[in-house]
């Protein structure tokens, strides 16, 4: 449904997206994962026909986004990152207006609107001014306008940003349900969110796609190293590091240089280390045993979850090594 071939987009001299290619098939839900400023929004704006690409070809449902922009826009439902709402209209008025602008006739709007309002559970607010709604409900209004005209392709830019955790869960559920009927491109900077909703993840960083995989495979790939935070008492740093490096499952060991940890260690008489190991149970066990056998006091052994930034770092550095 969406086909992007060697697309680049620059704002003046600043490249936002550099030579990306991917395809989203009919019925697929694809998550677009990346830190802020990675090029997610730009890519979505190109796909929705808001802004033309600087280079390359982008088609949606077989229509070129530049030469057949109107046809593309007829087939797309779009929820931009800042939910665009007319605050002085009621929910019903706003949605009818959006429907008509999307080319629906009045009777179609009349028939479709109650269904959509039902689907997003906005029933009791149908005559409330949009400006009076909470952020989560505004998000639902935003989603409603995107799905109202039954588009083939749904493009959603950070649909759960800035709403409270309970509403996030509800919104995710709603989006998952929508995915059963629509081809969907959804952006996020939260990995678990993308894993929960999408069957395929594109990771974008600095305007380039650095990974294209199933969410499970992606985390598995990233799990080739586990980072463990260790604190020991009574050890010399070089001796400890050497002992760790001798363990077969350990990839690397070094002193923990993070300021907060170093400060704490000065007060409490222990040495902090970071150990990267292969992600299996034996590794952790062996590390613990080695420390005990050496007569050091083990005060802390915590596997650290990888932050999104580290994942990007991982993916991008890996890419560089491969080149």
């Amino acid at each position: 449904m969406i086909k992007i071939e060697h697309m680049s987009k620059s704002y003046g001299p600043y490249p936002a997206v550099i030579d990306i290619s991917f395809e989203v098939l009919k019925g697929e839900i694809v998550g677009f994962l990346g830190p802020n400023g990675a090029g997610k929004t730009t890519t979505m704006r190109v796909v929705t026909g808001y802004t033309p690409p600087t280079e390359g070809d982008v088609t949606v449902g077989g229509y070129d986004v530049v030469s057949h922009s109107l046809d593309v826009r007829r087939h797309i439902g779009y929820l931009p990152e800042t939910v665009p709402l007319y605050l002085d209209m009621t929910v019903m008025d706003y949605l009818s207006y959006m429907g008509e602008i999307r080319g629906m006739n009045k009777s179609w709007v009349k028939e479709r609107l109650p269904k959509v309002i039902d689907m997003v559970k906005l029933g009791e607010y149908r005559n409330t001014l949009v400006g009076r709604l909470s952020k989560g409900y505004r998000q639902r209004v935003g989603i409603s306008q995107a799905i109202l005209h039954e588009p083939d392709v749904l493009v959603m830019d950070e649909p759960t940003i800035g709403i409270d955790p309970i509403q996030v869960v509800e919104t995710r559920e709603l989006i998952s349900n929508l995915g059963e009927e629509h081809t969907m491109l959804l952006s996020s900077h939260i990995l678990p969110e993308v894993s929960a909703i999408c069957k395929r993840v594109l990771v974008i960083n600095d305007g380039r796609i650095v990974a294209d995989d199933k969410p499970d495979d992606l985390s598995e790939k990233l799990q080739h190293a586990e980072r463990i935070e260790i604190s020991v008492r009574g050890a010399e740093a070089p001796a400890f590091i050497n002992a760790m490096r001798d363990i077969s499952d350990v990839v690397d060991a070094r002193s923990d240089q993070r300021a907060s940890v170093v400060q704490r260690s000065e007060r409490e008489d222990f040495l902090p280390f970071i150990v990267d190991a292969r992600p299996n149970v034996q590794a952790t066990e062996t590390i613990a045993k080695t420390i005990i056998n050496n007569g050091w006091g083990l005060t802390n052994l915590t596997p650290l979850p990888m932050t999104l930034e580290e994942i990007f770092l991982e993916l991008t550095t890996e890419e560089n090594l491969g080149e």
Binding site: G49, Y50, D71, R73, Y78, P80, D88, E100, I101
Partner: protein
Amino acid sequence: MRFISVIAIKEIRTYFASPMAYVVSAAFLAITGFFFVASVSDAFAEASIRGYLAGAIFFLIFMSPALTMRLLAEEQKLGTLELLLTSPLREFEIVFGKFIAAFVTTMVMVGLSLYFVVVLFVYGDPDIGPLLTGLFGLGMYAAATLAVGLFASSLSSNQIVGLVVGSGILTALTIIDFVSARLSGTAAQVLDAFQLGASFSVFDLDSFGVAEGGHFADFARGIISVTDIAYYSSITAVFLLLTVLVLEARRWR
């Protein structure tokens, strides 16, 4: 065409659901009312709407941009322009729809002031010719000023910028004879051809003047000239086109 009417109807509803239309109409009625009364209350005064027209076209320099300043600036501020531009709408449909809404609202405002005409017929014997051409001219003039205002509104997401730029362009076209008076020959003639029509001599309580060489003078006198119609139509068309181009250029940024 359907999209133009959808947008126009939405904007007209927004006008009358918000204080803007009422505030501007009230100010317009009060100010033009003053000029009307002042121009017909002297002994042996002419039973005409000359004073009303002169006051109206002068203050539309500020009121038209005040009415249009929200139309495109707010869409940019709220981000709803992104929705409009990703809907199957063409830029000119957005611009036309909004222009028509502003024009209809202005005509409602002018319509409210037509009781002046009724007053004239009750207490005097006005000449119908200049009355009709004057009102027709007012419609053309309003369209031109609204187009300039709409263009100014498209330039940024700040409504005040829209108001200042719009009024600025219209004021420049109004005081263009200050410049042409200091020039001679072709240059002066060319500048004079752009004179919008209003004049500061509106504040001269003996004449309630409009710009003598301007495009409104003939309308006020009861003459419909092709040149004047062409002038106001061109201003309207050029600024609407510029607005469309500004919206299209936004895509390429």
